[in-house]
């Protein structure tokens, strides 16, 4: 893929009350190998969740894999919701092995589905279809007289951003009256430490604590060299699939350091939008020497690690430990968590009073460590 071509972004999902993810997993891999960036929402997802995610992510198409029946109604609901939210330029395709019959297919095509793949379709044919059908953005049919959907407007703006321009000043933001100044929280750490789960738990608590809270999430996943990317954080972030949360998944597209080249500009846009109380920025899994956030980009940085970092010597090498405001030892149910916390405190020595070291088990429902983390990043 040359630099000139922006990769096609597609959202894939399995409908509500359906857990058949074997086919979609295979197709996701094939699409990625064909250079497509796939935002995977996971299984058991409502039409509402799918459409919200598609609009926020600015995808060109939605691929739905349905094996549990009710596909005629489900696809129709997705298309209807897209239209009602003014996103009729987003294509819809899908399949369901043998469960979708030829007569279903005719009906679904009439209702606006671009293509249904039957059992036995070669994978190449599917990837070729996506690459040709969605190669360029579709023209949007004239929107209704209603004001444009705020998620839609924000998402379109993010899609147009180019990394070259230095700031977002002068961006055409038609904000509403109530303007909020969001707190931006950068979350980083090695892969597998549980950053995604931790953010989702923070979102759950923030939404619960304040019924008017609105949250944005900027999440990053690595691109595969010369290919697309699997942006799968949404599938894990179950509480963040909410009308009060705006989430955007970015592929690094070869940019080093844990973020994408457009991250800075995306953050400027999200900050300027004026409706968010908090913005979480999640980096890809980083190495010891990385310090992804510039001090002007985020208000607080959280470094998340698991107790399994190796010897005490390893702690000396992690640059982020010196930069982060809060260091979280997640997965504190694992052996070695206590050792980790005390070794970290020792490493900080006299600074230990200003540097916060916390133990969390984000995977546990209602973990008090996560409560404490929210308090620290929001109030200190």
């Amino acid at each position: 893929m040359t630099a000139k071509h922006t990769p096609i972004r597609v959202l894939t999902a399995v409908p509500i009350c359906d857990g058949h993810d074997s086919a979609i997993n295979t197709i996701n891999l094939e699409l990625i190998h064909a250079g497509v960036e796939v935002i995977y929402l996971g299984y058991h997802r409502s039409a509402r969740d799918i459409v919200r995610a598609a609009i926020q992510e600015g995808v060109r198409a939605i691929g739905i894999s349905s094996y549990n029946g009710g596909h005629v109604e489900f696809f129709a609901e997705v298309i209807d919701l897209l239209r009602r939210r003014g996103a009729n330029d987003v294509g819809v395709f899908g399949g369901g092995g043998g469960t979708i019959t030829p007569s279903d297919e005719r009906l679904m095509r009439r209702k606006g589905v671009d293509r249904i793949f039957f059992a036995g379709t070669p994978l190449d044919e599917m990837t070729q279809f996506v690459r040709t059908t969605y190669a360029t953005p579709r023209r949007r049919a004239r929107a209704s007289k209603r004001a444009e959907d705020p998620d839609q407007r924000l998402a379109r703006l993010l899609t147009t951003l180019k990394p070259s321009a230095a700031t977002a000043r002068g961006l055409p933001l038609r904000g509403r009256s109530a303007r909020k100044r969001p707190r931006v929280i950068g979350v980083t750490g090695p892969g597998g430490a549980g950053k995604t789960t931790l953010i989702d738990e923070l979102v759950l608590r923030s939404l619960g604590a304040n019924p008017a809270a609105q949250i944005a999430i900027l999440s990053h996943d690595p691109s595969i060299v010369g290919k697309g990317a699997l942006l799968g954080d949404r599938a894990t972030m179950i509480y963040s699939q909410d009308d009060r949360v705006f989430m955007r998944s970015l592929a690094t597209r070869g940019h080093a350091g844990g973020l994408a080249s457009v991250t800075r500009r995306c953050l400027d846009v999200l900050r300027a939008d004026g409706r968010f109380d908090v913005i979480f920025v999640e980096t890809v899994g980083i190495g010891q020497e990385s310090a992804p956030f510039g001090s002007d980009q985020v208000d607080r940085t959280v470094f998340v690690m698991s107790p399994a970092y190796g010897s005490r010597l390893q702690l000396q090498k992690i640059v982020m430990l010196d930069v982060a405001d809060v260091v979280v030892v997640n997965k504190s149910d694992l052996a070695g968590a206590k050792t980790a916390v005390s070794e970290l405190r020792q490493r900080f020595g006299r600074r230990a009073t200003t540097k916060h070291v916390l133990a969390t088990t984000a995977s546990r429902h209602g973990d008090p460590g996560v409560d404490e983390l929210l308090r620290l990043v929001m109030t200190s």
Binding site: F74, T101, S103, G120, T197, T236
Partner: protein, 584 residues
């Protein structure tokens, strides 16, 4: 020592024990004498049978040898059917005609479609000419995920792929007219994440019709295997820890109060359907089984009380491993339960239900599916499965139509009743060189998988490492690639493709639930909630107290379901324990 490590040790140790017996049979005259006396008395105890063509045959086929070392290898290494280590079968006579020892009716009648009354009618249709009523129920998507039919966005799924059950009233309609209190009746329910709630509805519905005394007589199975949901099937709604607690509460209750109930069916079927190889299916299913045993023991339950109430469910496809896979599972389970967990004879049996492979069915020239299923059925019976379900040929498109359900059920009758393969002699295939080679290789490969899971810290730790999921996904990907590059032949698809006419998908009769019925179900659950609006809040509060104070949630659910729908109950439980977070 971890549970899997001690199972590996006990199975390997048992292998060494067998070799010692073989050597002793060669070198120790006294031992040899005892052994051969046992062998002769075993032979003497076998009755004969006469085939319709006049051939006289023994009812049990044994190796044709009087070489003491070989006799020792057979008796200790395999065991005749019904004897430890049960390689050849859990029971002495299984499919034989006119058997007084017959313990199992192998045929299960699986159904589930539309609303409760539709499935009820299907059950009555299927059992019209049957001696026993062994009913097996499939539920629709909303029920499997614990949401009500009036839940936002699920309308299209009501009654599709299974029956819609929202309330105890629906459950009562589902089994209307069947003698739930009769020993010839059993109900099996394919339900996992909300299994305790659905079983509570079943118990409550039975009590309404037959009084409180019926509870101890209820017979049946709930699948309730949440570990395989996390590994393969994805129908899980509560975090794993909470799911396992609700399950253990249910097992504790049924062990004490419902002695004829099977509270869990440890399932490899969905693991295989998600793409696992036969070895992965066996290894994950067995390791899950040993993990459940360990969990229930940690609760303080006696392995010899709950052990006999564990049952298993495997897939049978067309790969060569399926000639012997379940046989090896039976042996590993017996040895592991006896030697690693100290379980007595009643808890060593790997009681197995087999279903033919849904994944092996193909939409193109779908009548070939009749042949595929017939071969799989034969493989399943060569493994001496205790019961079997054969899929319908039209399942790639639809909930089976009556025509193909009937043909599928008849396939079993043709195999077991018409054909002479299984009805005259028990163990007709056991001991063939090919089967023995497979058994040896499969056992080795399964133990290797155990060792890998054990290295990761056991089944639960391996799950957090996504080990089983990633292995299954990799195997699924390989399977698909093999179909596309033609190295895995699929007749009618990548070989012997017919003309365009036969390639076009057939317009089969598709079973769908009409819109009107879906609306009726939505109205029903709404009416139920309205009718019980006053009591529901109090019932849910009582349930919440039990959850918070560590009481038995299942015992309380039997009360809760009287006033609350499935979706109301799961919503409250979600507030208390959270949602399952998928690992992609």
């Amino acid at each position: 020592v971890s549970i899997l490590a001690s199972v590996i040790d006990s199975v390997r140790g048992y292998g060494r024990f067998v070799e010692r017996q073989v050597r002793q049979a060669r070198t120790d005259a006294r031992f040899r004498g005892q052994l051969m006396r046992r062998w002769r008395s075993l032979h003497a105890g076998i009755a004969t049978t006469t085939t319709p063509t006049g051939l006289v045959l023994p009812r049990l086929a044994l190796p044709q040898t009087d070489e003491p070392a070989e006799v020792a290898r057979y008796l200790f290494g395999e065991g005749p059917p019904g004897e430890f280590p049960y390689l050849n079968g859990a029971y002495r006579e299984m499919y034989l005609e006119q058997s007084e020892l017959k313990t199992e009716e192998p045929t299960r009648l699986f159904a589930g479609l539309g609303l409760a009354e539709d499935s009820n009618a299907r059950f009555h249709f299927l059992t019209r000419q049957q001696r026993t009523f062994r009913l097996s129920t499939a539920f629709d998507g909303p029920t499997l995920y614990g949401v009500d039919s009036d839940h936002d966005g699920v309308f299209g799924k009501i009654g599709e792929g299974g029956v819609a059950i929202d309330t105890v009233d629906d459950m009562q309609r589902l089994f209307d007219g069947f003698p739930l209190d009769d020993t010839r009746f059993s109900a099996s329910m394919t339900i996992n994440a909300p299994a305790p709630i659905l079983l509570a509805m079943y118990v409550a519905a039975a009590k309404r019709r037959f009084g409180p005394g019926v509870v101890a007589r209820l017979r049946g199975t709930v699948q309730a295997d949440v570990l395989k949901e996390v590994q393969a099937q994805n129908e899980i709604i509560f975090p794993l820890e909470a799911s396992l607690r609700f399950l253990t509460d249910m097992v504790e209750f049924t062990t004490q109060h419902m002695p004829r109930w099977y509270p869990i069916s440890i399932s490899g079927y969905h693991i295989a359907e998600a793409g696992a190889t036969p070895v992965q299916q066996a290894a994950y299913t067995l390791s899950n089984g040993f993990t459940y045993v360990q969990l229930f023991r940690e609760r303080g339950l006696d392995v010899n009380r709950f052990g006999p109430r564990l049952s298993f469910f495997l897939d049978c496809g067309l790969d060569v491993e399926y000639l012997a896979l379940a046989r090896v599972c039976r042996k590993i389970w017996a040895v592991g339960m006896r030697d690693a967990l100290g379980a007595d004879a009643g808890s060593q049996l790997f009681k197995l239900h087999t279903q033919t492979s849904g994944r092996s069915l193909v939409a193109h020239e779908f009548q070939n599916n009749l042949t595929r299923t017939a071969i799989e059925l034969m493989l399943a019976c060569a493994n001496a499965t205790n019961s079997v379900h054969s899929n319908s040929a039209d399942e790639p498109f639809t909930t089976p139509s009556e025509r193909y359900v009937r043909l599928a059920a008849h396939a079993q009758a043709v195999l077991l009743e018409e054909s002479g393969l299984f009805k005259h002699m028990m163990n007709i295939f056991g001991g063939s060189p090919g089967m023995q080679i497979l058994e040896r290789e499969l056992q080795r490969a399964i133990l290797d998988e155990f060792a890998e899971i054990d290295r990761l810290g056991g089944v639960l730790a391996a799950i957090t490492h996504r080990y089983q999921r990633s292995q299954i996904q990799a195997a699924a990907h390989r399977y698909e690639s093999q179909i596309y590059d033609g190295t895995r032949p699929i007749v009618g698809l990548n070989r012997y493709r017919g003309d365009d006419e036969s390639q076009s998908l057939p317009e089969v009769h598709v079973v769908r639930t009409p819109r009107k019925k879906k609306q009726l179900q939505v109205e029903r659950v709404k009416r139920f909630k309205k009718r019980h609006a006053r009591q529901a809040g109090r019932a849910l509060d009582a349930l919440a107290t039990v959850v918070d104070t560590g009481g038995n949630v299942f015992a309380e659910l039997i009360q809760t379901v009287e006033h609350c729908s499935l979706g109301q109950i799961t919503a409250r439980l979600h507030e208390l324990v959270g949602h399952y977070r998928p690992s992609v």
